[in-house]
């Protein structure tokens, strides 16, 4: 074994990490996210000391709906990344395809991915754990719709970041959504969060969806208020992410970044 050669390659990775902020942040990112999510879950469980009603339904419902949000976002971001990986982006940009049509196609493929995954997870939850998500009735469809919209907004935002910062930022496609998870109150109610984070969660559409889900599963009445907030926020975030995408595209054309895609 040649230690010098090993050292040379270690130096190569050191240089890489030193010059790549996304790679460096990733070292901290997952431990912090995991600690936050499971820390708050523990606080929630401790409050009820094992007598929490509907815990299985809350937990599985949260898991299934969270995955819908995740697939929707990843579907949009990965559609863009697929073109980067295959060096096909220029072929698309020199075609009559309009950016909004490109985004529309990404959204469509994201819905297909969500549909496929949701079908499988709903069946597994029912078959293995006896959890029937359809007890939520029509609300389930509205919850899913809101999470898909939020996933689209985040997916477009992340695609814009990849266009701006290059392929080095591709880990955002799988990781950025988890930054939202602790304040989205997926597995615990918003009231478990510290006060400052409770204020933040008011601006997260998913937090309203998960609060609404628990309200429905608890039989505490229709979650109309939460859904109005969720859809309202989604409209704002979708408009903002589209504006950001177009602004990033304009800047990429000014700076010649479209020719350097993949770097």
């Amino acid at each position: 074994m040649n230690v010098a050669r090993m050292g040379a390659l270690t130096l190569r990775y050191f240089y890489l990490y030193r010059s790549s902020l996304p790679r460096l942040l990733e070292q901290l990112y997952w431990p912090v996210v995991d600690l936050l999510v499971w820390g708050f879950v523990t606080i929630y469980l401790r409050q009820f000391e094992g007598t929490l009603p509907n815990f299985l339904a809350f937990f599985l419902g949260g898991l299934i709906l969270w995955d819908i949000l995740f697939r929707s976002q990843v579907g949009v971001s990965v559609a863009y990344l697929e073109e980067v990986w295959s060096r096909n982006l220029l072929n698309l940009f020199v075609s009559p395809l309009r950016p909004v049509e490109f985004i529309g196609a990404s959204m469509t493929i994201a819905i297909m991915r969500v549909g496929f995954t949701a079908t499988v997870t709903l069946v597994i939850a029912w078959a293995f754990y006896g959890f029937n998500a359809f007890v939520m009735g029509a609300w389930l469809g509205l919850f899913m719709g809101s999470l898909i919209l939020m996933g689209w907004a985040m997916g477009i935002f992340i695609s814009s970041l990849i266009m701006r910062f290059g392929q080095g930022a591709e880990s955002l496609a799988w990781g950025l959504i988890f930054l939202v998870q602790p304040v989205a109150a997926v597995f615990y109610p918003v009231e478990v969060l510290p006060t400052a984070l409770q204020h933040v969660s008011q601006f997260i559409p998913a937090a309203h969806v998960f609060e609404g889900m628990r309200q429905v599963l608890d039989g505490a009445g229709p979650p109309t208020g939460h859904l109005v907030w969720a859809y309202g926020l989604n409209a704002v975030y979708l408009a903002a992410s589209l504006t950001f995408f177009y602004a990033t595209l304009r800047e990429a054309k000014r700076e010649g970044r479209l020719l350097r895609v993949g770097e």
Binding site: E82, E83, S86, R87, N88, L90, N91, L92, F93, V94, S95, P96, L97, R98, R250, K253, R254, E255, G256, L258, L259
Partner: protein
């Protein structure tokens, strides 16, 4: 001032003392025909003929222009990539962009395709301008480059089917079959692009570029990875397309013999500026050289020498 090959930052040629002195940046007569009065002899390129100013009007194309660039300039954070370039490409012309690496050819083509926004200047393609006419322009042009790929996991047929739909090609099956036959790659239709040889891939990219029967075809190094036989056939196909469809071709290549045999006119770019423009034969006469390769070497080496 020295220009070191491959250096990231290039000096602004317009501020170069050498250019100001008229030594390094002597520009040959762009208008090869119809010059008014004999300008002074070019001191740095013996036998190259009269000196011109880069802002002189471009030579007139033999047919009405379908591509017009006026004072096209692109500056990237202090680096001048294209510097006041003006040219016209006539309908049905095969027009070559030539120049050393970093001369501004790719940036110019990218601006013509709306991939890069010019800092200043005007582009008119098929009578339309960006961004207003983007969709109309891009539905009537196409592009192929050795350095741009197609999704590798899709088959040749699937890729061409997708792009036929993007360009709204009528009777796509027939059109795809016709192009596969033309490029002699019918047998690859069901194969994944990633499984093809580089020569086959290049022919698939060219087939994609011809799907919409473009009025203007932009080609960046189209034959770079082809063997001489296929490269020759490809040149033949480009001539046929021009003859049959009246298509205009704007091409860059480092294959000087190819440019010489294929192009009706060539624009030689140096440091983002128009050095000389005209039919290959006239460029050879002007430089007093036997081949375009010799002209290229003369310009490229002079550029890399200290002024």
């Amino acid at each position: 001032m020295t220009y070191v090959r491959g250096s990231a930052k290039r000096p602004d040629p317009s501020r170069s003392p050498a250019r100001q002195a008229g030594v390094l940046a002597v520009i040959l007569k762009g208008t090869l025909a119809g010059a008014a009065g004999p300008p002074p002899e070019n001191p740095s390129v013996p036998g190259a003929g009269p000196m011109i100013h880069p802002s002189d009007p471009p030579s007139a194309p033999p047919t009405p222009p379908v591509v017009s660039a006026r004072d096209l300039t692109k500056r990237f954070s202090g680096t001048l990539a294209v510097d006041g370039l003006s040219f016209d490409v006539g309908a049905g012309e095969i027009y070559g962009l030539m120049g050393p690496n970093g001369a501004g050819k790719t940036t110019t083509i990218a601006m013509l395709l709306d991939l890069i926004t010019p800092t200043s200047g005007e582009i008119r393609i098929l009578g339309e301008t960006y961004p207003k006419g983007r969709e109309r322009i891009l539905s009537r042009v196409n592009f192929s480059s050795t350095y741009v790929s197609l999704p590798l996991r899709l088959t040749v047929w699937e890729n061409l089917r997708v792009f036929a739909a993007l360009y709204g090609v009528r009777r796509p099956r027939e059109r795809i079959r016709e192009l596969l036959e033309r490029f002699e790659i019918e047998a690859t239709a069901g194969k994944r692009v990633g499984d093809l040889s580089s020569g086959q891939k290049t022919r698939v990219y060219l087939a994609k570029a011809l799907l919409n029967e473009p009025a203007i075809l932009f080609l960046d190094e189209p034959t770079a990875s082809l063997d001489p036989d296929i490269a020759d056939k490809t040149r033949g196909i480009l001539r046929d397309i021009r003859r049959e469809q009246g298509a205009t071709v704007v091409i860059t290549s480092h294959n000087m013999a190819e440019m010489e045999s294929l192009c009706d006119r060539i624009l030689f770019i140096e440091r983002g500026r128009r050095l000389v423009e005209g039919p290959p034969r006239e460029i050879l006469e002007r430089f007093g050289r036997a081949t375009l390769e010799e002209v290229f070497l003369q310009v490229a080496r002079r550029e890399r020498e200290p002024a």
